[in-house]
């Protein structure tokens, strides 16, 4: 295996890793606000991407507008789900809410099948597949584009969380809901904002990844890698989500190069189990302790 090929494989892994990271970030945003694992995150991404694509089919919109439509659809969907379903289960245990999001994922996927069939569709991309040569190394613009786009989004999120009132409020709610209320933060509004924000991040991730894995009612399954990434990084930690996603993407790509075919496909899961055993709260996670 040449170095050039290796670089390509790693870059390609970083590209999918960025998407995993975005998925993980979406999950973590909702988790931090509501302590809920959103099993429907992947399906929300799928639906919003489909909406963007449908707008494209009808109106022949340019790509940036497709992205906009998808993002708006995602935000609406996130808001709707939070207000219509999740808000009513505030008294329920986390376990119950988990089942609710699981039910949501089934409903969304089934609804997507009814609206858009089981078929797979090509999705327009911002970036070309034809390689560009950087010295001896060839990289695909699409990989660089996904990585770049994701990094930009992550940077924007970083700015949002660090620099804005809403971001600070969301972080405060993540640490201590009661204290956040005492600061005059409306926790309910943060819930809504979190679902919307997570959906928007997912919506962007969907538009970025759809040209690669194609648009279909089952594309939401990519979220499972987001879960793995989030766990690897330590659920609740944003930097952890990014690290976990990138790590997963690269390892997933390197495993087939070096490991016998017997175990290469289990690598993400073995990795997850291994990390959980060594660091039960993930690479960058923090353990919580109950007080008596």
């Amino acid at each position: 295996m040449s170095t050039a090929a290796l670089v390509h494989v790693v870059v390609s892994g970083l590209a999918t890793g960025s998407i995993y990271a975005l998925m993980a970030i979406s999950l973590v945003i909702v988790y931090n606000a509501t302590r809920t694992l959103n099993f429907a995150q992947g399906e929300m991404l799928m639906v919003s991407t489909f909406v963007g694509w449908t707008a494209h089919q009808w109106l022949r919109l340019p790509l940036p507008l497709i992205m906009l439509v998808a993002v708006v659809a995602a935000a609406l969907l996130g808001w709707l789900i939070e207000r219509a379903v999740i808000r009513h289960s505030i008294a329920a245990t986390h376990f119950d809410v988990l089942i609710i999001t699981l039910g949501l994922s089934l409903v969304l996927r089934a609804a997507a099948v009814l609206a858009w069939t089981h078929d797979e569709f090509p999705f327009p991309s911002f970036f070309a597949d034809r390689p560009i040569a950087l010295g001896p190394v060839r990289v695909a613009p699409v990989s660089l584009g996904i990585i770049g786009g994701s990094l930009l989004l992550m940077l924007a999120l970083y700015g949002l969380f660090r620099g804005t009132r809403l971001g600070r409020a969301m972080r405060a709610v993540a640490q201590n809901q009661r204290a956040a209320r005492l600061m005059g933060i409306s926790v309910e509004r943060v819930y809504s904002a979190s679902w919307i924000l997570a959906a928007v991040v997912g919506g962007i991730a969907g538009v970025l990844i759809a040209p690669v894995i194609f648009l279909s009612s089952k594309m939401g399954l990519v979220a499972i890698n987001g879960f793995t990434a989030a766990v690897l990084g330590g659920f609740g930690s944003m930097p952890g989500a990014v690290v976990g996603g990138m790590l997963l993407g690269v390892i997933e790509n390197l495993a087939p190069l070096y490991l016998p075919s017997g175990i290469k496909h289990s690598v993400p899961f073995l990795l997850m189990i291994a990390i959980l055993l060594v660091r039960p709260s993930g690479v960058l996670g923090r353990a919580r302790r109950r007080k008596v």
Partner: protein
């Protein structure tokens, strides 16, 4: 009164194959198998609050062990095959349970999810014995000289095993072990302070849960007759979780009712194709929003309770 209820129930179970159309005999077997899994899962998730999204993995282990034993040792009576399937799965449960002691809630759910995937991969990769993707034909179960080939014969096997396991589970949950598990669910700290070895009981819950699911796996192998890794995907694990959620966490009768409801629901909805997941999802959500304790919280089960109820 209670005795009369038991008698009526038992009689109904025994006479079912004569009263019901043949397909419903098979369906009833499937319900019982799922009920055994649900009880096992409930002992882990409902009783000790250790969430598992990997029970399809345990089911697979039990199914393959029972099938392989029957293939390679045809003289082995089915009872022994089922017992060994349960024990082998319990061993796997032990191996998974010990490291999982360190994990809580979400992380445990994720680790068990990963376990489910790893089991499927293992079946694929051990293809010299499991035949991987080609799948494994399960021979007819034998009890001494008797071949349990018909659906009715299989039904009696399943019902006998199910009755025994339900009875045992009811005994377990209303005595010391069951109380210790519940105590752990309610407050690990107070349980420790009462002398409950939390780690041991959490592991025990994994082992017992795996045993139940393993035996169910063996029964599953015999009633379905063919095993392939595709049978045991993560959605099956989710179905099991749905069973105990719908039926009621921490309730043995709830597990049985939940298994029956979900199995029958699946069967009824099979013809609705694209609407099936939609309806199923809506039911899950509605159940959680409007009946969070499951069916067990709405219905009083007169039997199977301790004398303090």
């Amino acid at each position: 009164m209670r005795r009369a209820l038991w008698l009526a129930g038992g009689l109904a179970l025994l006479l079912w194959p004569w009263a019901a159309p043949p397909y419903f005999v098979f369906l009833a077997s499937l319900i019982v198998v799922n009920a055994i899994v649900a009880i096992g899962l409930n002992l882990l998730s409902g009783y000790t609050n250790q969430l598992s999204f990997g029970h399809a993995g345990f089911l697979a282990v039990g199914a393959y062990v029972a099938a392989l034993l029957t293939i390679h040792a045809p003289a082995l009576p089915v009872v022994a095959a089922l017992l060994l399937a349960g024990l082998a799965t319990a061993l796997v449960g032990l191996a998974l349970g010990i490291p999982c002691l360190r994990l809580e809630g979400l992380y445990l759910a994720m680790a068990t999810l990963a376990f489910g995937f790893v089991v499927v991969e293992a079946i694929l990769n051990l293809d010299w014995i499991t035949r991987g993707n080609d799948g494994l034909r399960v021979p007819v179960a034998r009890l001494g000289g008797l071949a349990l080939a018909s659906d009715t014969a299989k039904y009696y096997l399943v019902v006998a095993a199910g009755a025994l396991l339900v009875w045992a589970a009811a005994n377990i949950v209303r005595t010391r072990t069951g109380r210790a598990l519940l105590a752990i669910r309610e407050s690990e700290i107070a349980a420790q302070a009462s002398g409950v070895h939390v780690a041991a009981y959490k592991t025990l819950a994994f082992v017992v849960s795996a045993f139940y699911t393993g035996v169910a796996g063996g029964l599953f192998a015999f009633i379905v007759g063919y095993l392939s890794p595709d049978a045991f995907d993560v959605f099956l694990s989710v179905d099991f979780v749905a069973m105990i959620v719908v039926g009621g966490l921490g309730s043995i009768p709830g597990s049985i009712v939940g298994a029956a409801v979900i199995t029958v629901l699946y069967d009824t909805l099979a013809a609705f194709q694209n609407y099936r997941p939609l309806i199923f999802g809506v039911i899950l959500i509605a159940c959680m929003l409007f009946m969070p304790g499951g069916i067990a919280s709405r219905v009083r089960f007169p039997v199977l309770k301790g004398d303090n109820a």
